[in-house]
Symmetry: D2
Subunit: 347 residues, 4 copies
Amino acid sequence: MGMQCHKKIMRGYKKPTVSIIGASGYSGAELTKILLSHPSVKLEKLYAHTQAGKKVQDIYPSLDTDAVFEPYNGETDTDIYFLALPHGEALSLVPQLAEAGKLVIDLSGDFRLKSPKEHSKYYKKDKDPDAVLPYALPELFHDEIKQAKAVSNPGCYATSIILGIAPLVKKPLKNASVKSVNCSAISGISGAGRSGKVELSFSEMSGNIRAYKAGKHQHTPEILQALDTDTFTPSFSFMFTPMIAPLVRGIYTVLNIQLEKHIPVSQIEGHFTDFYRSAPFARIRKSMPEIQHVAYTNFCDIHIAESAENGSTVIISAIDNLIKGAAGQAVQNMNIMLGYDETHGLL
Amino acid sequence: MGMQCHKKIMRGYKKPTVSIIGASGYSGAELTKILLSHPSVKLEKLYAHTQAGKKVQDIYPSLDTDAVFEPYNGETDTDIYFLALPHGEALSLVPQLAEAGKLVIDLSGDFRLKSPKEHSKYYKKDKDPDAVLPYALPELFHDEIKQAKAVSNPGCYATSIILGIAPLVKKPLKNASVKSVNCSAISGISGAGRSGKVELSFSEMSGNIRAYKAGKHQHTPEILQALDTDTFTPSFSFMFTPMIAPLVRGIYTVLNIQLEKHIPVSQIEGHFTDFYRSAPFARIRKSMPEIQHVAYTNFCDIHIAESAENGSTVIISAIDNLIKGAAGQAVQNMNIMLGYDETHGLL
Amino acid sequence: MGMQCHKKIMRGYKKPTVSIIGASGYSGAELTKILLSHPSVKLEKLYAHTQAGKKVQDIYPSLDTDAVFEPYNGETDTDIYFLALPHGEALSLVPQLAEAGKLVIDLSGDFRLKSPKEHSKYYKKDKDPDAVLPYALPELFHDEIKQAKAVSNPGCYATSIILGIAPLVKKPLKNASVKSVNCSAISGISGAGRSGKVELSFSEMSGNIRAYKAGKHQHTPEILQALDTDTFTPSFSFMFTPMIAPLVRGIYTVLNIQLEKHIPVSQIEGHFTDFYRSAPFARIRKSMPEIQHVAYTNFCDIHIAESAENGSTVIISAIDNLIKGAAGQAVQNMNIMLGYDETHGLL
Amino acid sequence: MGMQCHKKIMRGYKKPTVSIIGASGYSGAELTKILLSHPSVKLEKLYAHTQAGKKVQDIYPSLDTDAVFEPYNGETDTDIYFLALPHGEALSLVPQLAEAGKLVIDLSGDFRLKSPKEHSKYYKKDKDPDAVLPYALPELFHDEIKQAKAVSNPGCYATSIILGIAPLVKKPLKNASVKSVNCSAISGISGAGRSGKVELSFSEMSGNIRAYKAGKHQHTPEILQALDTDTFTPSFSFMFTPMIAPLVRGIYTVLNIQLEKHIPVSQIEGHFTDFYRSAPFARIRKSMPEIQHVAYTNFCDIHIAESAENGSTVIISAIDNLIKGAAGQAVQNMNIMLGYDETHGLL
């Protein structure tokens, strides 16, 4: 998009260069698409282990690039690195890149949890207590991200769920603290990655819905940590049931939040609107969110759907799992780290 | 498929005759399909106001019948009547048919609620306090159905939700009564009927999810009534959020049930298995239910998915909204009313 | 559903027993479903190599059976055998079963082609010239099937395509022989089997269409053979392009048939109606076929859509690939071989 | 997207202003999306009759704009007008806008056909012989578009079909002229517009395929005209069967082209590559096109799939019906008319 434009803007300015490690999965492809048309960075290398040697277009013909996937061998010749690797594979890479003075945005779960105990429990792998990076959910942690050289990009479910609860926990309404949260969230099937499992085949998933890992999903500790509590002695009861349904993109979250007392919908709405006043991608909506409203965008739509006399409150949030839940949010974080406008290249 | 049964019925026995009033909608078509192949009744008339005069095959070419939709003008010449009419239209018809000595299974919401106040609030229509029929959920009310000449077939969401809660409410575990239920349920789009609304078009619903009527759906009072309480002074907190997703058939229900204390999954499972021991269509499953497991069947699959230390319990249930949620259950009720085996013509 | 039939069969008559070898694929599951409710045979064994030891319900929970998949070790203790194995695996089995005096319906491509040369070219495997069974397309070869002890069930595309052309080739209209056929056919993804290939995953196939094997599909020689010609010196030009689209079931076929001269649509329609007069599952329709009209049925719907002045004719046919294109047709063949009514257990 | 960028580029240059008349349909929404992020024009007014007064975001929440739909009352205050109106409604508007010196890109069928006789036959409406604009398919008519002040944007099917045939007709291979074309094309359901017809509902179209207007579609004369012939005395036999399948976007076209003699695939491929050498959006591909390769892009992917000894040739082409088949191509035409790079704002 508009190469002449780039050159003109950048007169006397060298655009930062970017590489993606783990570029051949769905998040990597989405990152590639966004970064190719980003006006103020230059995408240079697309590293992908299993697809090394293949042209990007052979796997993603819709991407307008002649690039070829390369194996990653420790290069540090670009300014910024996005890591879109399977959980566990970033643990050794991020420190190396950070040491080399690179900006790093890691999309895995490796550096999200402060508690090695929670990490072991939910990721079935031990990790060092130091393996933690600032949790890069810009709507909550903008300043930490701005200061950071390396950040951990939130999980997709976590993004959708945290944004729908945070204003009630981070800045509680008077006498209306959160007593419990029951959360059901439906993910598009791309959330499972570019996969050849029978149970994710079109024939099995068309016309189908399937819950999984009820109460046990690895985003649980991440959500509670971002809300200033933890899974071992949580400050409120929390239960999360993820599902997949027959759509490719999106996360649709129903939050049943029990407040200490009844707060009218309009007041909660006002509170959320205030809370996210400076967050351009969090949209508090008066009508019901839909996946089609946020698909292919970096928006998180939030709607206060119901608030019963007994304090039982329903909040709905919706995102595109590959954009706001992964690649878009990663670029939003890069923008913040580079001092660009948060929305740059994302609208 | 019930061979013994055939022989008994057939010996010197004239099969009861059946008509469907409101046969051209999706529930009507599904009833037609089931009744056409039911071994022990004879489907005679298909009444449908707007489609009167058209051949059934012109609208549902997959149905193997030469029948023509007829306008209903008060005929009472068959033994059994299924009513699959829009809410409100059965109110005057059912008494006439009952008076004429017919067996009646009404699929609308008209006769479900005992409280005219609840009916007014949720159906936006007043009704007579007498306009109530036995609530025909066979897994809970088999005996009442057996005695009845006219019954009210449950709603689709209600079927799925009630069956997932009932054992814990109807026969509570010691010191483990139900304190609250938060329920999210996803319906196939056929639940909205054979409709030409833009928001139900393929282009709008593909890749989409949309919640609606959170906390306000008309099945709410029906669910609470079947669980021996009501919406005005409920014995436990209840919140229900319905959604539609891009599939045609099915209801997938996530029940977040807060029990007074923790009960292990296996114990709840055992309790449900006992409770539904004589209910052939309620299947307590050890693995996660899926819509594809129940689609085109009359089964309700139930799975105890999680039970946390604090008593927070997740139960999943799944049905086919057009079968167990409508036409199949209606035939199950007819079987019971006629003294046939409950599963006759349904397996 | 055939009540007279039941009575005749049942009086002092032991139902024939049936086994399925290769029961765990989609065709096998569909066969299981049909045979479980077939009134006049008894389904006994479900053989499946890779799934041996698993309960059928663990893989297909919608099937109402307690059966367990078993490994096949040469047993010959039931009367009838359906083989739903990958191509190549039936070659040695069928002769053994035939020798043991069993009725055999083979769903693979192994015994379809008379020409070993064509078999080698299209199946990339050599076979014996004797490895041929009667081609069991009942609408064309009813009498041969009736005589046979073992038959070869047609391919799914082949069924849909042959039935849409046969009346014009087998009983040509005067001065209107077929000069060329260009055929595009879209298959539901279940046609590729219960598969874990990335390119058949929901994420890849949702919103997608993909042609494959244009001019090279292995059903090509089968189609021409059934139409009394062959691929080496065909009596008319024939080109077939298969595609997959985002639906699970069905084959939708567009036939561009060039006739020697213009024949009006109504005359072609009449000719087809006559030709299929005694074929209960071939429906000549005046309106446009749709997959939903034939899904979950054994019908093949055929419509003469256009006939231009220059003889260019468009015929559309539609089937359910798993029913009329596989399991349903196999049971139709079994019915014929057993002397039952062709539609027995299939309506 | 990148407003700073705009300002810098445009120093001393006022960006042309643009309006869309008929902005609330799917093509209008897609135009809005593309033009909002186009670096070198300024989108000003969104006219939409039936939605006048509503915010654009109320109908298309994914669009990042605060605009409100307005009724069109003859305003001529922007430089460029896109018309995305139902057929028939542009006939009087285009001349007025052209007279006012505006650039006009009309997306309807009103000005495509030179022959009033063909227009009457296929659009069931008479029109003036003068009501013709240059046919704006840039891959074939780049120079005419560059000169024009008002153009007629091609139909979606027509774009896909013409681009797959043109090199063989416009610049025929020696002794290999085109004798006949049989064409099947599958459209995404968005091609039917934002519609509330029952037969386009999710419940009716999921798992379904339906052909329509075989041999009678209104793009037929447009296709032949672009290929220098006509429907009354065509220089080659042409038959077109359109279908809809359960996907939202895309046109997938199978062209069965009978050439006078056999030309090897590689030679045809080379010929197409040469022919489209200066056409950035026509991609001649060695692998099979898929809708997912072109969805959300302005590319037309073309693949020579098969070429039989008798000259029977299969060519596949794929586009996004809303982009290359409508809004994207319209912007491509605007770029050409304004002297911008053809791909400006489209990659």
